[in-house]
Chain length 415, copies 2
């Protein structure tokens, strides 16, 4: 892909609206733009990151035996009244009356809808267990949206739901998800703290939160430095329950939350199954959420330096940036295009900066964008038949004969 | 993929809500379920079809040099007031006031939003031409949603927008899109009629509609059987302007619509560029829509028989259905699993019907689902070391030695 065709509007200055570090870099690197507070347009580079994250999630959901579907954003208020959550969630849920006079809400989450769907399709223990998930846009009427994609009114979530006939089944699915979540966040290049958390408005007994430590994170957790225990912040006690040490407060961003829901939703909505003896029982449920768009910002929060973003390999919008330093020099451009085509042909995601800009501007933008490898082609490359590879994360510069360039790149980036 | 894991709830009976043929098959084949009138859940099989359609669209948009982005559903009403379309579109647009007191709409389309975005990023003729597109969920407050995915309140669209400095540029982008649309619909297995249409509420001068002839289609077009001219239905004259013949009325579904918008939006929203002489001019725009979710129903309308759906190869949810006739016979199952794994390993999308159902039920469901190839494995297969391949579209049955099965399949399905 050529930069000039890709619509990557980088910014030299930080827009005033930017509140946190990730928010600044999100805007400056041309990943997203604000339409109004809480609603963002994902530009091509940001969309590529989103898609890479979604690809990782889909692969790991497959490991959990989950099937993907897609539920509507528009939902009847009536379903929420049956579980009583219309009151629990309150004003955060967008509600309106449509032209047919129906009370409609914009789904902030989908427990009610999926339980209603499953109720119509599953009636026997033979059809259990079942795990379903979607990657979909959710809506929340936030009174104070902020930090770009971190607290938005419109955002993308992965929400999975498990349906089991007994607690043993739920425990098994829960454990599978717990392990999948650890892999997902690791592949996204994140260090997470996992807290045993309060289920709150979701109902149910057990739950875990996956929290990304970040300076601007709004969720506080407590960490014991002696035994590494993590718990949700609670003013009752700042002492570790294991070793009685004073725990440290850490600012974090919640990126995942898994719940053992039990029968709260199936009971309220009548989602029952006949067990082996023919007895009707409510289906036992779990739910498993990941803030997909929020992950983009969280990854930036944890992967950056003074120059810009440092994308972890699996989520990077491109893996390699080819940087011809003088696009008016036809030999340099030819060399750059040849390398671009060669790498793209091998399956790498390659961006070629074909802009007629000064080398300094290109280097700055390259570091800002944070693509893992920069391959620089200048006059020296022609004279000495070499290329320079810069590893964004370490700033290491490697000079290699042109003939060994692809081999060296394949050593640095595994696809 | 095993049927038992895939969540494919087929129905023997047609639900009462079903209005058209495609609507019936959509529900019976387990592709989608209604949450409320106008809002549908896509089940795994339906989502796979949607994704296949999206893949075709993305490939053809790339040919047009278009970059993908993703815009918000939530939009400020203010933008619509600037173009005056808040009044033109009227009550079909969902509108509400959020907790911050903002007048918000749910986007039924995105001309205003994309023009506002481009206004902020493009200022010079050097940045033109530019083509941007998204595949995204749109909302319309339909007073009478009907026919499943054909007229829904929530639906998926591909909307592309071109930005040019002059009419020549617009004409070129328009022509590229026109050709891409023909390829997209052909790859979806559709025969379309293309009418030169009225631009209506969109503004601009030239536009073409891509219409799928279908018994239940709500849009009428006129076709001249002598010269094949097609035009939008108009009570003024039913005569062909070329050969003066009486034209035939044809029921169709609109699946695509392309418009030369001109400067309506750029002028209203102030999206200007400086030309080579430094003079400020409004950007010249085109827009290009495809009803992605509506295509699912349109494809079914044109590709079916009394037994069920006949998916065109490129959009089929799976390409091959392996049908072991007796899953309690371990030799038959072993043979089926081996073939499934072998084909999946070669990159085919394979579904294995591992349900413990009578052969009659399986055959009926196989025809209902409409996967292009059915590979039947029964007792005969073991005795004679053969397999039977049924081509869904022609009902042709091919019996081949087991050793030649994969070769025969690769002849029938090209991936």
């Amino acid at each position: 892909m050529y930069w000039s065709k890709a619509f990557i509007p980088t910014l030299k200055e930080t827009p005033q609206e930017a509140e946190s570090l990730s928010h600044k870099l999100l805007l400056r690197a041309g990943l997203a733009r604000m339409l109004m507070a809480g609603a963002y347009s994902y530009l091509p580079l940001g969309l590529r990151v989103l898609e890479n994250i979604q690809k990782i999630i889909r692969q790991e959901m497959q490991v959990c035996g989950a099937s993907e579907l897609l539920l509507p954003a528009l939902q009847p208020l009536e379903l929420w009244q049956k579980t009583g959550r219309d009151k629990d969630i309150g004003e955060v849920m967008f509600k309106f009356i449509d032209r047919r006079g129906r009370n409609v809400v914009l789904g902030p989450t989908h427990e009610e809808v999926i339980t209603d769907l499953v109720k119509g399709e599953i009636s026997s223990y033979r059809q259990l267990p079942r795990v379903l998930y979607q990657i979909q846009t959710k809506f929340r009427d936030e009174i104070r949206p902020r930090n770009g994609l971190i607290r938005a009114c419109e955002f993308i979530m992965k929400d999975a739901y498990s349906f089991d006939q007994d607690q043993v089944g739920l425990d098994k699915n829960y454990q599978l998800m717990y392990e999948a979540y650890k892999r997902i966040f690791k592949r996204c290049g994140l260090t997470v703290l996992i807290t045993q958390a309060d289920s709150g408005v979701m109902g149910g007994k057990e739950s875990h939160e996956f929290m990304v430590p970040a300076a601007q994170g709004e969720d506080l957790v407590l960490v014991c430095k002696k035994c590494n225990q993590v718990k949700a912040f609670n003013t009752d006690s700042l002492l570790c329950s294991k070793c009685n040490f004073q725990m440290d407060k850490v600012n974090t961003i919640e990126v995942g939350h898994i719940f053992k829901l039990g029968i709260k939703y199936s009971q309220a909505l009548g989602a029952n199954f006949a067990d082996a003896k023919g007895e009707l029982k409510p289906i036992i449920m779990g739910c498993y959420g990941i803030g997909v768009s929020r992950l983009v910002s969280s990854i930036i929060e944890q992967n950056n330096d003074a120059e810009g973003i440092i994308w972890p390999q699996e989520v990077a919008p491109y893996q390699i940036l080819v940087l011809p330093l003088d696009v008016t020099n036809s030999q340099i451009m030819q060399e750059a295009i040849t390398l671009h085509d060669q790498l793209a042909g091998l399956g790498y995601q390659v961006l070629l900066d074909d802009r007629d800009e000064r080398a300094g501007v290109k280097f700055k933008d390259a570091d800002l964008l944070g693509i893992p490898l920069q391959v620089v082609i200048g006059r020296n490359s022609l004279v000495e038949q070499t290329i320079e590879i810069k590893v964004r994360s370490t700033k290491q510069k490697i000079i290699k004969p042109r003939s060994q360039a692809v081999e060296e790149i394949s050593r640095l980036i595994v696809i």
